[in-house]
Symmetry: C2
Subunit: 152 residues, 2 copies
Amino acid sequence: MENYQIDSLDREILKALQADARQSYLDIARQLDVSGGTIHQRVNRMRAAGIITGSKITVDAKRLGHGVTVLLGLHLTNAKAMSKVLAKLETFPEVLEAYYTTGGFSLILKIAVRSIEDYHQFLIRKLQAIDEVQSTESFICMDQPINRDIEI
Amino acid sequence: MENYQIDSLDREILKALQADARQSYLDIARQLDVSGGTIHQRVNRMRAAGIITGSKITVDAKRLGHGVTVLLGLHLTNAKAMSKVLAKLETFPEVLEAYYTTGGFSLILKIAVRSIEDYHQFLIRKLQAIDEVQSTESFICMDQPINRDIEI
DNA sequence: ATTGAAATCATTAGCGA
DNA sequence: TCGCTAATGATTTCAAT
């Protein structure tokens, strides 16, 4: 079922689970006026089709000690080093996301650390210790006024 | 319980729910060799403390028709317009995230659209239609080789 | 998409270390 | 305080329709 097209019921189920992944299928069924078994069947189908890829709790990063988020533009000395650099970046748990983009950077990273001091250490000890990293440009996030999911 | 400090059991519970928010508390209990009631109690406590803020399913954006992700650096004509611009950005469902950062941009946005054509339309019809937007710099994401959560 | 039934789970309260 | 057990009502899950 690689090219299963969702219908409006699927869409409503996705919205409900996007808002609260742990809510019971029966609750969703009652909201949508269908049987519990139907929700179950649809969710399974969307899982099999690769539309639903998993679920996770959302946590407050600050309460877990990761108070500082940084976006970072990276320049490499040569584009051929990309896969080697990525392999290295994967070993740094501070690197949450890496984007290969058009525009003036080789890579853009999203990084989470405990503090500015930790970020400084991360930069000089880890990131700039990679030979192929030519330069970096840091955008330290002071606030994230918008954070939401794609409109389903 | 605003300053509740988590212990190693909490940490393991968070890891488990981060990997799969819908797995049953009893399953987690068996993995961690404690009772189901204990998991329940801990989760409730972490919710009350604001450590767990919710849960959501993860979906494949491409399968839902949002094939193009763009990071965008925004320059405003004047910093005082920030709140007005943010209010406007909130009305655009294409804007998933907005970061107020140090460095050369007033704001950095993460945007999801169906196609490059849609992105072009979004840029000229919506974003650049805001008076206070001076200029934009687009970083179109061709690949996202790293995507993970903070290390708990 | 529904039903119905068996297995499993969530949730709470009270007990004990 | 923290984790455990026990009990009940709710949910999940699956097969048949």
